[in-house]
């Protein structure tokens, strides 16, 4: 654990590569013991999805385009959810993660109201799985009970396990290692998601971040953060869509 203190986890999401396949969503559900969302849960706006694909339509029929944005907890450097918790169940750790301590949580839901990204979820029910899925629960992840808040953890259990096993086997855990990366990153077929250490200058995420943020605001700069004007200092960087066909009417 000694060297872990100076790590800062972050993610880069390349919207241009996202095809909206929802693979990340499924991977996340099964990695993190998230109960199955039924139709009525969506209708009640009570579905739990640590990562979701937001879908937007652009243009008028027949020239419509679907746009997809994967949204997960942005692990804000200046998180609006943290100061409102009366029991310090959510806080920022040394590795830049916004941690949710389930057993500390008393379910006030203030944090969810504070979060501008809608990525915090309240357990309105005791979680349930069909009999056939009970044995696939991940033992490294707590099963959250009714009445508490939960959210994306950047798969902290994978970070912990790979770091520990790296120390045991005396190997350095590299960024991009499948054992380290969150389930969504591993599942993405088009590598739209990249995970790693922002404090390590030679990591892929750092280089992507630097390149993306260097030309910010200019035409060629693709990097942006969601709702950056709120000053949340999110640790998830988005790369906007490259649209060569902008304005052109064409048929495929």
């Amino acid at each position: 654990m000694a060297d872990s203190q100076d790590r800062k986890w972050g993610m880069v999401v390349d919207i241009d590569r996202c095809t909206g396949c929802n693979g990340c969503v499924v991977a996340c559900q099964s990695e993190n013991n998230i109960p199955n969302n039924l139709e009525e849960h969506f209708n009640q706006r009570r579905a739990i999805q640590w990562i979701r694909i937001e879908r937007y339509w652009e243009g008028e029929y027949p020239n419509v385009k679907a746009r997809f944005i994967p949204v997960m907890c942005q692990q804000c450097g200046n998180a609006p959810c943290e100061p409102v918790c009366p029991v310090y169940a959510t806080y920022h750790n040394e590795e830049g993660l916004n941690v949710q301590v389930y057993n500390r949580c008393i379910g006030t839901r203030f944090c969810a109201n504070g979060c501008p990204y809608h990525v915090r979820f309240f357990n309105f029910w005791e979680p349930e799985w069909p009999e056939s899925l009970k044995n696939q629960l991940n033992p490294d992840v707590t099963v959250r009970s009714r009445g508490i808040m939960e959210k994306c953890s950047f798969c902290v259990q994978r970070i912990r396990r790979s770091t520990r096993e790296g120390e045991r086997d005396e190997v350095q855990v590299e960024d991009g290692d499948r054992a380290l990366s969150p389930a969504c990153v591993n599942a993405c077929p088009t590598t739209a998601l990249t995970f790693g250490d922002f404090n390590n200058d030679s990591s892929q995420v750092s280089m992507m971040k630097e390149e993306a943020m260097a030309n910010r605001g200019k035409k060629e700069g693709r990097g942006y953060r969601l709702l950056d004007n709120l000053g949340t200092e999110a640790n998830v960087i988005y790369l906007k869509k490259v649209d060569n066909s902008a304005g052109a009417v064409h048929g495929h």
Binding site: M1, S4, Y91, N93, E94, L97, V99, V101, Y102, N103, R104, D140, V141, T142, V143, S153, V156, Q157, R160, R164, E167, R168
Partner: protein
């Protein structure tokens, strides 16, 4: 008595009944509070300390650590094979016991019980003695590695910090409370991580 002076009224019988009922209710509330407090305090202090059992649970096969560790000199890691490698120490499969017990211990009831289970291909359902709640993630490997390196001792000598002297136990029981306070105070002494996300996720 001067007329117009204050005169204490004797309570009517109706009021007496009311007072009586109030007294009984108050007594009930008091008893409830005392019972509640006792329950909470004993639950908080937890396992082996106060009212809880001083003895470990009965196991399906009365396996004595004494015989195997003291008399036969077996190492803890021979049976608890994963303790140096993984989060869970693991309890051995019956097959490991049978390497000896297919030959050793004829006529002993417990051994015969084990053999018949083994022949039926059934496993022994050992009763778990130590268990942290689901929201806590304990890892044996890191602890064994750290302390055997730091103190220059065998891995099997580290166990007693948390499990007491198992080799003296006919029946394994929990001797340390293993509450969060125990974990964190040792972590502080050894400058191990105390970030909540080390143990809770």
């Amino acid at each position: 008595m001067i007329p117009g002076d204050f005169q204490p009224q004797r309570p009517t019988s109706r009021q007496m009944v009311k007072l009586g009922v109030l007294g009984v209710v108050a007594l009930g509330v008091f008893v409830a509070i005392v019972l509640g407090l006792t329950f909470h305090i004993s639950a908080w202090l937890g396992q082996p300390v106060v009212f809880a059992r001083s003895e470990g649970p009965d196991q399906p096969i009365a396996f004595p650590h004494t015989t195997h560790v003291q008399e036969l000199g077996m190492d803890c890691t021979f049976c608890h094979r994963n303790v140096e490698k993984e989060a869970a120490a693991s309890v051995p499969a019956t097959g490991l016991c049978m390497t000896c017990h297919s030959a050793v211990g004829d006529d002993l009831d417990e051994i015969e019980k084990m053999r018949s289970l083994y022949e039926d291909g059934r496993s022994i359902h050992w009763v778990r003695v130590h268990r942290v709640p689901d929201h806590v993630h304990f890892v044996h490997e890191a602890h064994i590695r750290y302390f055997s390196e730091k103190d220059g001792i065998e891995p099997s000598q580290v166990c007693q910090t948390c499990h007491g002297d198992v080799k003296e136990m006919e029946k394994v029981k929990q001797v340390e409370t293993l509450k969060m306070g125990d974990c964190v105070s040792c972590h502080k002494e050894n400058s191990a991580p105390t970030d909540c996300a080390t143990c809770h996720y």
